[in-house]
């Protein structure tokens, strides 16, 4: 909302600086985003046209002699309306003006001395557009005759405008008077209300027109006046200036007055040419489905059955509170005006405007459910101005059809204690009464508080807290003390899902991975790249996606993590090890989808940063598996990795992760991404390895388990270790050797620490070195005892795996 300071000053005085006022308004809820100054241009002054002569070389140009106070200048001018004796805006050389011919508005141009068709022009006579105060460029701006020659133009045309970012609850401040009322409350200075008194000497209004509301649910009140004998024409300069200053284009006096009152009081109005209303009968009704109307913008609109129409007995003559119709428009020949000031149903008005894509200043106000009291005030104010400006005679009385009468809340009870209960501080009675009084609330006080009457301009006030806010915002939030919560904090409740995600995240970071957060939405096609199983739950589709790239909520983290590592591989030469812990969305068709917590990580590129003593190998399966092992260690879960099949991953290079202690439940998968899958991601590396952990499944595994680690007293007896160098078939796995070795309870660990194939090892065989640690909980083992156990293990390895000791 743009509020010109000169306009505001008509209703209230303020002594503080504009900056201070802007600050106080902002603190009170009307945020002043900017203090705009228009019309102040250096080197532009009021000039007097002394003489106008024909340009010797151009028919359409004239030579204008301008007295600018400190001297005279001869200016070449192309405006048709320039004439001797005028007061005009004279721009001297060096003035920075709006470029009237620029494609994009706001571009400026510095005025230079120039020759136009052979004649030197010193300066310029300006148009409205060049001065940046409006759009008109058909001719020069002619100033009032009493403007003093040589005065800086800002003193004549300059306007300062407060640009206020209004909150949706304050339709009263969509009128300058509403803002003035806040200023009045802030400063304590009285508000000067606009005059709404007028003389009505004409015939009884009811003999000239009638109004009938057939759908009272959508029109709570309809007031109207009739003015006969008006003369339509341009508005007086002051009225045009008011509208121009807030960016509205003056049209004619009638339309300008209705606009002016809307911006003054916040009540939208509409003027009909009464002679164009059949039978002078106005009917407020719902449109019949498919009914058509040509609106003021000359577009035919097809209406729905929930749209409210202003009609005469034969046709629609306006879309209620949205836009008038061309058939009843005010024109130059109009002499009798029916002025409408109504209260339409807010939600309905808003829906109609949305459906027809006709946002308007009227809907901006009506949609906030204006109070019915405002319509009559607006009607009287506009009628008075019409009589003053367009002449004519007002019919006696007003039409007032008021089905909503008595349905609105009229007051709020405010108990004294309630103020302290909400704010935490006592506010003196005197302050409460003055503050609310200045805001226009009528109070009836008693021992415990006040009965507060809700003024007609405040539809947002309905409960005591609303009144408390009124007091607090004017007193200033700054003046309310600061305390800390004193009550008992609530009982802590475990949040296992969130805590698990944090633990997994921290473990992966400690394992050297970097966390990402990506978009939750994707497309079906993008997700299809990772070959999800066909029996997966449906995706959550968006009804109104913002772009085609984000049409469905993701069901997997695999696609985004692969996309992210692939994108980074094009710009990042070091190791890339990324993970995400987030929700995927699975729709089982039962209301809200399942939001399942997952974690996924991927590795591409070299394992290590370039380093003098580190391998330059690419990361591989064992990096991804290591990250998983780090998480499992952190969580205290013993899992097995079994050869698995998953269409995202390469066959033979994929493990399914199971927890034997929990019925072998699958908690994730790790592997090398299948070549044909990863090829679709346009990466600069050949392979990627990836893991996915199902945090929801892990949560089930952990459920009921002791959360804290129980210390296991370690034995102080010495442990012995022996290394075995075995030769086995290449198909034998490390896991098999370790499993057999671990069967003996004296063996506390079995670790494969070297693998070798090639020279010295027969074809089809590999050498495996295993370190076994032997420890008895209750005695020191002798070499003989260890040798015996080792013999048993070797025998078993030989029997089950065909393992042989490697010849040294």
């Amino acid at each position: 909302m743009k509020v010109p300071v000169s306009w505001l000053s008509e209703y209230v005085d303020f002594e503080m600086s504009l900056e201070d006022l802007a600050h106080r308004l902002t603190m009170a809820g009307n945020e002043v985003e900017e203090i705009e100054r228009t019309g102040w241009i250096d080197n532009v002054v009021v000039g007097h046209v002394k003489a106008v002569a024909q340009h010797p070389n151009a028919d359409r140009l004239s030579l204008v002699t301008v007295d600018y106070g400190d001297g005279e200048a001869e200016v070449v001018c192309g405006a048709p309306n320039v004439a001797a004796g005028q007061k005009i805006a004279y721009a001297a050389v060096g003035a920075v003006l709006q470029d009237a011919y620029a494609e994009e508005p706001g571009k400026t141009k510095k005025l230079k001395r120039s020759k136009i068709r052979g004649v030197e022009s010193i300066g310029m006579v300006c148009s409205v557009r060049e001065l940046g105060i409006g759009d008109d460029h058909d001719g020069i701006l002619v100033l009032d005759d009493d403007a003093k020659v040589g005065t800086p133009i800002g003193e004549v045309l300059g306007e300062t405008v407060l640009d206020i970012e209004l909150t949706p609850n304050r339709p009263d401040c969509l009128g300058v008077v509403g803002v003035a009322r806040d200023v009045s409350a802030i400063t304590g200075n009285p508000l000067r209300q606009p005059n709404v008194e007028f003389e009505s000497k004409g015939p009884d209004v009811n003999t000239l027109a009638s109004v009938e509301i057939t759908d009272p649910d959508l029109c709570l009140r309809y007031t109207a006046s009739v003015i006969q004998g008006v003369k339509i024409g341009p508005s007086p300069q002051w009225l045009q200036d008011r509208l121009t200053a807030i960016g509205e284009r003056p049209i004619n006096n009638l339309v300008d007055i209705t606009n002016f009152v809307m911006f003054e009081l916040g009540q939208p109005l509409h003027a009909f040419d009464l002679d164009k209303v059949v039978d002078h009968r106005v009917i407020v009704r719902r449109a019949t489905p498919g009914e058509k109307i040509v609106t003021l913008d000359d577009k035919e609109r097809k209406l729905g059955s929930e749209m409210l129409l202003i009609a005469d007995p034969e046709r629609g003559i306006g879309l209620a509170g949205v836009m008038g119709a061309a058939n009843s428009e005010i024109s130059e020949s109009t002499t009798t005006v029916l002025l409408e000031s109504a209260t339409f149903h807010g939600v309905n008005n808003r829906r109609t405007a949305h459906a027809l894509e006709l946002p308007s200043q009227a809907t901006l106000r009506f949609e906030k459910s204006l109070r019915t009291g405002l319509s009559e005030v607006g009607l009287r104010r506009a009628t008075k101005l019409i009589l003053e400006i367009a002449g004519g005679e007002a019919a006696s009385g007003i039409i007032d059809v008021y089905p909503g009468k008595g349905t609105e809340q009229t007051g709020v009870r405010l108990d004294r204690d309630h103020i302290k209960r909400v704010l935490g501080v006592e506010i003196e009675n005197r302050v409460v009464e003055t503050t609310l009084g200045n805001l226009g609330f009528e109070l009836a006080g008693d021992a415990d508080g006040w009965d507060v009457r809700i003024p007609y301009w405040r539809p947002d006030v309905s409960i005591p807290e609303d009144i408390v806010e009124e007091i607090a915002r004017i007193v200033g939030y700054d003046n309310i003390p600061t305390t800390t919560l004193s009550g008992r904090p609530p009982q802590w409740q475990p949040q296992p899902e969130m805590e698990l995600r944090a633990r997994v995240t921290d473990a992966l970071v400690q394992a050297g991975m970097r966390e990402i957060i990506s978009y939750s939405a994707t497309t079906s096609e993008a997700e299809a790249r990772v070959a999800l199983p066909a029996d997966m739950a449906s995706e959550v589709k968006l009804r109104n996606p913002i772009t085609a790239d984000f049409a469905v909520m993701r069901r997997t983290l695999r696609e985004t993590i692969l996309d992210t590592v692939a994108r980074n591989s094009r710009t990042w030469r070091g190791p890339i090890a990324l993970f995400e812990a987030a929700r995927v969305f699975l729709d089982y068709g039962e209301g809200l989808p399942e939001e399942r917590q997952m974690a996924a990580g991927a590795f591409v590129g070299p394992r290590n940063d370039l380093h003098w003593d580190a391998s330059t190998d690419s990361s591989d399966f064992y990096d991804a598996k290591g990250a998983v092992e780090a998480v499992l260690d952190e969580l205290g879960i013993t899992a097995t990795f079994e050869t698995g099949e998953d269409a995202t991953f390469a066959a033979g290079r994929t493990a399914v992760i199971k927890v034997p202690a929990a019925n072998n439940v699958v908690i994730g998968v790790v592997g090398e991404v299948a070549g044909k899958v990863f090829a679709q991601f346009d990466a600069e590396v050949e392979t990627a390895t990836m893991f996915e952990l199902d945090l929801a499944a892990i949560l089930k595994v952990l459920k009921g388990r002791e959360a804290t680690v129980k210390f296991d007293e370690f034995t102080r007896l010495p442990a012995s270790h022996r290394d075995l160098s075995l030769v086995v078939d290449t198909g034998v796995t490390a896991g098999q050797i370790v499993e057999i070795s671990n069967r003996n309870r004296i063996v506390t660990s079995a670790t494969v620490f070297d693998l070798f194939e090639g020279k010295g090892v027969p074809d089809g065989k590999k050498a495996v070195a295993v370190r076994l640690v032997y420890q008895s909980p209750n005695k020191t083992l002798t070499a003989d005892q260890i040798g015996k156990i080792e013999g048993q293990i070797l025998k078993q390895l030989s029997k089950e795996l065909g393992a042989e000791l490697r010849a040294q």
Binding site: M27, G29, E31, T167, P168, R170, V347, R350, K420, V422, G424, V425, I463, E465, V468, E469, A472, R473, Y477, D478, I480, T482, T483, T484, L485, G487, R488, P490, W492, Q493, Q495, M498, T505, L508, V509, R514, E515, I516, I517, Y519, S520, A521, L542, R543, N544, I546, F550, M553, T564, R567, N568, T571, W572, A577, G591, L592, E595, N608, D609, H611
Partner: protein, 338 residues
Amino acid sequence: MPESRETQDTQTSETVEELKLAAVAALDSAESEEQLEIWRVDFMGRKGRLTGLLRGLGGLEIDERKIVGAAANRLRGELEVLFEGRVSQSRSTQTPVGSIDITLPGRKPSLGGLHPSTQVVREITQAFNEMGFQTVEGPEVELEKYNFDMLNIPASHPARDMFDTFWVDSDTHDDILLRTHTSPMQARVMESNDPPIRVVVPGKCYRYESTDATHEWQFNQIEGLAVDEGITFADLKGTLYEFARRIFGPSQKVRFRCDYFPFVEPGVDMSIEWKGDWLEIMGAGMVHPKVLENAGYDSTKYTGFAFGMGPERISMLRNEIADIRHFFANDLRFLTQF
């Protein structure tokens, strides 16, 4: 006599000068600490040549003794400085047996890192945790009821314009949406818990909004809610002021001004002073009685306050990130800076 005196002077001076030349040449050619030690004993030691020269002064007349003595002592000083220089030079160039190149980089374990949003979310939630607020989370795909209706934003309320909404396309439901804020958890938490309530709710939110440097259709938000008997606006100010001190530093200036959100009354905008401007970082207010009633709380008995803020926005301020789109692009050139 004058002649003989001259002669003697010359002789003695030459000796000091000669000793200097010999000593400097010998010092230059000494290559090890052992040789330097030999040099020191030879020239500077108790029986060294310089001592010998000084001892020889006894045979001179008193005036000459003073002159030559001064010259010899000056030379001692000079030679000591030169000697010390050579010793430290020798020590620095000499490589002890088994030396390593300590300039080579160490074996630094690769450090992972948290996404900057997670870092800020954790920092903020921790600040509130320490004030007794527990962290909880809620669904991202939400019912209209929780996202709007229970928060005093009925259908077609003009305030819904403040929340451009993604709706879910479903054959069976037309009331499912992507939550536009974390505020639905106010309703959910109150619905399933009795007061007192003190929670903070971080999480992803979504708004139907074109993306540019300062707008994203996906972002994180942190909601807060405290409800109990006797909670006041002054408590709201105190709690949020303490938060600002924790996150922005003890001397941070904070401003509370009137603002409007349908689910609070009175409504608050909290701004911080940042490089000479006031920047809004949080919306807040006293929980609207209708919101309390909608959740089944007795609004004549309980009061509360709620607040909401955007961690990405706070990170953009503190870390001087000009474009919000960096957050979910996950470029390592961005992520590795935090």
